[in-house]
């Protein structure tokens, strides 16, 4: 029940009402995914700092594959005030999955991931209002939770 409430809250926070109408096809995430900004208003997007927290909100240990999570260009989505995607810096060479990203979280355990605008953007976006969120596809083998870890959108502004 707790997990369903979290999923409902994430769907509302992400502004995607269609997620409420359609039950998720994938297995429900045992992880609560949140995102926080050090400052919601920055003088340059390069100074942006975000922290993503993944918490095992379930009652059993959860194994997830965080192989792609460290790469800002593929783990963070950014959109402008009109909802258009904001280009990020070039993505890294995709890593070969050799199990190095596997992480098992005990019930209640969290992992934090830090992201910096300085490494996210290849060109600093112009002044304006934006939103960003964490979104990573995880899992590819047995005994791993498979699905998307998605945080709510969080707003920030690049000062003129």
């Amino acid at each position: 029940v707790y997990g369903r409430l979290i999923a409902l809250w994430l769907a509302c926070a992400s502004g995607e009402p269609e997620a409420l109408a359609q039950p998720p096809a994938q297995q429900e995430s045992p992880l609560q995914t949140t995102i926080e900004l050090a400052q919601p208003r920055v003088d340059s997007a390069r100074n942006l700092q975000a922290t993503v927290t993944l918490t095992n909100a379930g009652s059993e240990p959860a194994t997830v594959n965080l192989l792609l999570a460290p790469y800002p260009s593929v783990a963070i989505e950014v959109r402008d005030a009109s909802g258009n995607p904001v280009p990020k810096g070039p993505p890294p060479v995709p890593p070969k999955d050799e199990g190095q990203g596997l992480r098992t979280l005990a019930p209640g355990e969290s992992v934090k991931l830090d992201y910096k605008g300085a490494t996210l953007f290849g060109s600093a976006p112009p002044p304006g209002r934006y939103e960003l969120r964490f979104r990573v596809r995880t899992g590819s083998a047995a005994n791993q939770w498979t699905g998307e870890l998605v945080s709510p959108w969080v707003a920030f502004e690049v000062a003129p």
């Binding site: 800002p72 993505p91 590819s140």
Partner: protein
């Protein structure tokens, strides 16, 4: 395995007066991003001192020619399957570097000035890897003009310079210590992006440097070019894929295309006379 030619980078010039026609194959979103890049780059150029550039032709002087480059590069990746779906999309960055063409030494040096908090030991390791990978492999060749004059050849070298003041840098690079930064699971040796280099990495950083000099990725389908060879390869880290696909490999001549274009400008010759080989 036959090597597919990487696409020509989609770029926008530092100064609108030098703007080439948009590539015929450029997607609308790429053209839009390039226009935005013009505006931003022009603003930066207005705020910065004009780049130094000799007015002498290469064949007339032994003085080195310096030429600053600041271009917006964009690329659109498609057909990346799960779990790499996040690679699909349009990405953009500024390609900033300096060319120093020395007619006496017959060299064309790509200079990139970097500000970073990395240790001297790490900086030396990065520089050796990058300069060895991108320098000394090819030459910039200038064909003679209609009168049979002006032919020249310049060995392409690479010079990574470390600056103490960020204002003097082409780029600020964050030094990622594996296990400590950006989630503690940062890439190969800590490298996570063009501007996030791993302190224990001497391989992926050479790929990321390629972006700084204008090379696009050669993953999956990039700018319409299929790097999976019809689905027969992964589309990344493939044998024979070249450095922008597999960072342990060497560059292709196409990866120097922005260098070639700007070397032509610096030498004041038509770009069609310049080749890298």
């Amino acid at each position: 395995m036959p090597q597919l030619k990487p696409p020509t980078p989609s770029v926008s010039p530092a100064a609108p007066a030098q703007a080439p026609a948009a590539p015929a194959t450029a997607a609308p979103e790429v053209a839009q991003a390039a226009t935005l890049g013009n505006q931003e780059t022009q603003a930066r150029m207005n705020a910065a001192p004009a780049p130094a550039e000799s007015s002498l032709l290469a064949e007339d002087s032994s003085d080195a020619i310096t030429h600053e480059v600041s271009e917006r590069v964009t690329q659109t990746i498609s057909n990346a399957p799960d779990p790499h779906g996040a690679w699909n999309g349009t990405f953009g960055w500024d390609s900033n570097f300096q060319l120093v063409i020395d007619p006496s030494a017959k060299t064309c040096t790509i200079v990139v000035r970097i500000h970073t908090g990395a240790s001297d030991e790490v900086k030396a390791k990065w520089a050796a890897a990058i300069e060895g990978k991108w320098g000394g492999k090819y030459s910039l060749n200038v064909a003679p003009d209609a009168d049979g004059k002006g032919a020249a050849s310049y060995r392409i070298l690479c010079d990574l310079q470390w600056v103490d003041d960020a204002k003097d840098a082409h780029y600020e690079v964050t030094a990622n210590t594996p296990g400590a930064d950006e989630g503690g699971r940062a890439g190969l040796g800590g490298t996570t992006s063009m501007l996030g280099w791993g302190t224990e990495d001497e391989v992926d950083v050479t790929h990321e440097f390629g972006h700084m000099m204008g090379a696009v990725d050669d993953y999956f389908t990039t700018n319409g070019h299929d790097h999976t060879h019809g689905g027969t390869t992964d589309g990344f880290r493939d044998e024979g894929g070249g450095i922008m696909n597999a960072p342990n490999e060497d560059p292709f001549v196409e990866h120097y295309d922005l260098v070639r274009q700007h070397a032509a400008k610096a030498l004041k010759v038509d770009a069609s006379r310049c080749t890298v080989g």
